[in-house]
């Protein structure tokens, strides 16, 4: 009986992994009978998966009215042999990445600001805050009706800034709760329709408004999870409230929030695909256009999905690298 018996490949394939600390052992260490069952079911499931792949392969090749070789018809895949197709798709991918990148930067900046204001900013009498809110709404509506949507948007931004200066905690809360409750599609569509903003910047603006709130929430919960003693210690050594936030709380909170922020970033990248409502020529719209032109919807959309997986896989890869390094 030795402890470190070299484990065979089949052993590794079929073995129950030792659970990490805190992870549940659903099944206890198996006896010989249990191992046999696991082995048989594993082989069986491998067979089923293999057969499903085989079935799918056959299904794709089934002849249809137009294509005797089904989806393997060379004409359906021919576009992928041309550089122009890939260039066309790359243009879309570039816009997707650019919108996601710019959106992430903006959303991060606003998110950090909102989270830190909501966590540590000042509050004033609730009735004053509500009065300011009501006044702002009335002002924005009046500006919209009397002048133009652009002026109304400027008034809204001005009101928000005034609110953040004087009622920082309440205003940050109102901002976060409002835009979090909006449908992202309408947030993207609005600037395009009424502020004459280009599709790209509409998408960026919509994503920024929505994702700044989710990022703010992620950071705020990280800030709340910090021990109370951190704030007290910061104040005790003579830092101001603001200094405590920027030098003590935020660095720790951001580090804690990083994995969740990256999840939000991946989600933001996926949601660039909602740009179709403003004719944003991103990866999805380009693929859709190409598919329409070549009439090869199935192959083209598969390629599109694969490209998205690659892009988001890249973010996830960086995320795990970062996480490992920060540990």
């Amino acid at each position: 009986m030795t402890s470190s018996v070299e484990r065979s490949f089949s052993d590794r394939l079929l073995s129950v992994p030792r659970p990490k600390a805190g992870e549940l052992v659903l099944t206890e260490e198996l006896g010989p009978g249990g191992k046999r069952i696991v082995m048989v079911v594993s082989l069986l499931s491998l067979l089923i998966v293999a057969y499903s792949i085989y079935w799918m392969y056959g299904r794709l090749g089934e002849p249809t009215r137009l294509y005797p070789k089904g989806q393997y018809e060379p004409s359906l895949w021919a576009p992928f042999k041309q550089g122009t197709t890939w260039k066309f798709l790359w243009q879309g991918a570039k816009l997707t990445l650019a919108a996601a990148g710019v959106g992430t930067v903006f959303a991060m900046i606003i998110g950090v600001l909102m989270a830190s204001l909501r966590h540590g900013g000042q509050t004033r009498k609730r009735s004053y805050a509500l009065a300011l809110l009501a006044g702002s709404i009335a002002l924005v509506i009046a500006a919209g009706v009397l002048t133009s949507a652009r002026i109304a948007a400027l008034v809204a931004v001005a009101c928000l800034i005034i609110g953040l200066v004087f009622f920082s905690r309440q205003s940050a809360a109102a901002y976060t709760e409002f835009f979090r409750a909006c449908a992202l599609v309408t947030l993207i569509a609005s600037p395009f329709r009424f502020l004459q903003v280009s599709p790209f910047w509409s998408v960026v603006l919509g994503l920024t408004l929505y994702y700044s709130t989710t990022i703010a929430e992620v950071i705020r919960s990280a800030l709340r999870s910090l021990p109370k003693g951190q704030t007290e210690a910061g104040l005790a050594v003579g830092l101001t409230n603001k200094q405590t936030m920027t030098t003590v709380l935020l660095p720790q909170g951001l580090k804690r929030a990083l994995p969740n922020i990256l999840t939000q970033t991946a989600s933001l990248l996926k949601d660039t695909s909602l740009g179709f409502v403003v004719t944003f020529r991103d990866l999805l719209t380009q693929s859709q256009g190409a598919a329409k032109q070549f009439d090869n919807y199935f192959p083209m959309l598969l390629v599109c999905a694969a490209l998205y997986i690659t892009l988001i896989g890249f973010i996830n890869f960086t995320a795990t690298r970062l996480q490992r390094r920060s540990r």
Partner: protein, 252 residues
């Protein structure tokens, strides 16, 4: 012939047991018999393998070689046989492990109803008796999180007793308790020992070992170093390792 007599009396027989965690040899050739009605207290420094040994007895941990026999039956490796054996072996954990979604009463009746197929009314009656005995009948309708650590541990003892076990295993039952709650649990255990329950107790409570143990088993580095009566062990330990251990824990 004497050998034969001793095996028939032994309720738990641990024979040449070895266990590894990966490269780590945590139990080395452990031999220990626990006779019917006997209380064996296992002590030793942390990391000595005493907890692991206790958990091996009802196969919460597997062993790589050797054998463990309970009431003449070798420990089954899985399935219904293993479940049936575990029903006969009561276990009390360091962290209580009461079922968090069930009331104290339901915690105690779950085993008898689902395993022993006792009717709900009978199980409840028996459970109330047991809770009365450990002094927490008033808490029967409450959830574990609403009880203090000492009360939870007494409920856990009642849960184990409800299965009418042949032997009770205690895996550091007082280590997770606040100091003022240790005694209420030890008192219940002492009472149990005086009633003739067969017990294997892993603990750091030397007072309990002196009072309740028939034999003390000292473990160090995965080995069973010394087994002796508490009087002999505490006053005249035979091995250097036991002496070193005692000099560290006994008051100066």
């Amino acid at each position: 012939m004497t050998d034969f007599v001793s095996t028939s009396e032994a309720l738990v027989q641990i024979c040449g047991v070895n266990k590894w965690f990966g490269q780590n040899h945590v139990l080395t050739d452990v031999d220990l018999d626990v006779n019917r009605g006997e209380v064996v207290v296992v002590i030793g420094p942390s990391g000595s393998g005493k907890s692991t040994l206790c958990r091996c007895i009802n196969r919460l941990e597997t062993i790589q070689s050797g054998s463990i026999t309970i009431d003449g039956v070798p420990l089954p490796s899985e399935g219904k046989d293993l479940a049936r054996l575990r029903a006969d072996v009561g276990m009390v954990f360091q962290s209580f492990n009461l079922f968090a979604h069930k009331t104290i009463l339901e915690n105690v009746t779950l085993g008898p109803i689902k395993v022993r197929k006792v009717s709900k009314a009978d199980a409840t009656e028996q459970a109330m008796g047991l809770l009365e005995r450990v002094g927490i009948a008033a808490k029967a309708a409450q959830y574990p999180a609403e009880l203090s650590g000492g009360q939870q541990q007494r409920a856990a003892i009642a849960r184990a007793l409800a299965m009418k076990p042949k032997v009770m295993l205690f895996d550091e039952p007082t280590s997770a308790l606040d100091p003022e709650m240790v005694n209420e649990v030890l008192d219940v255990m002492l009472e149990l020992a005086n009633e003739g329950m067969t017990m294997v107790v892993v603990t750091h409570e030397m007072g309990f070992a002196r009072k309740a143990a028939k034999r003390v088993a000292f473990m160090d580095g995965g080995q069973l170093v010394e087994v002796a009566s508490p009087e002999n062990f505490f006053s005249a330990p035979k091995t250097d390792r036991a002496r070193a251990f005692l000099s560290k824990i006994l008051p100066h």
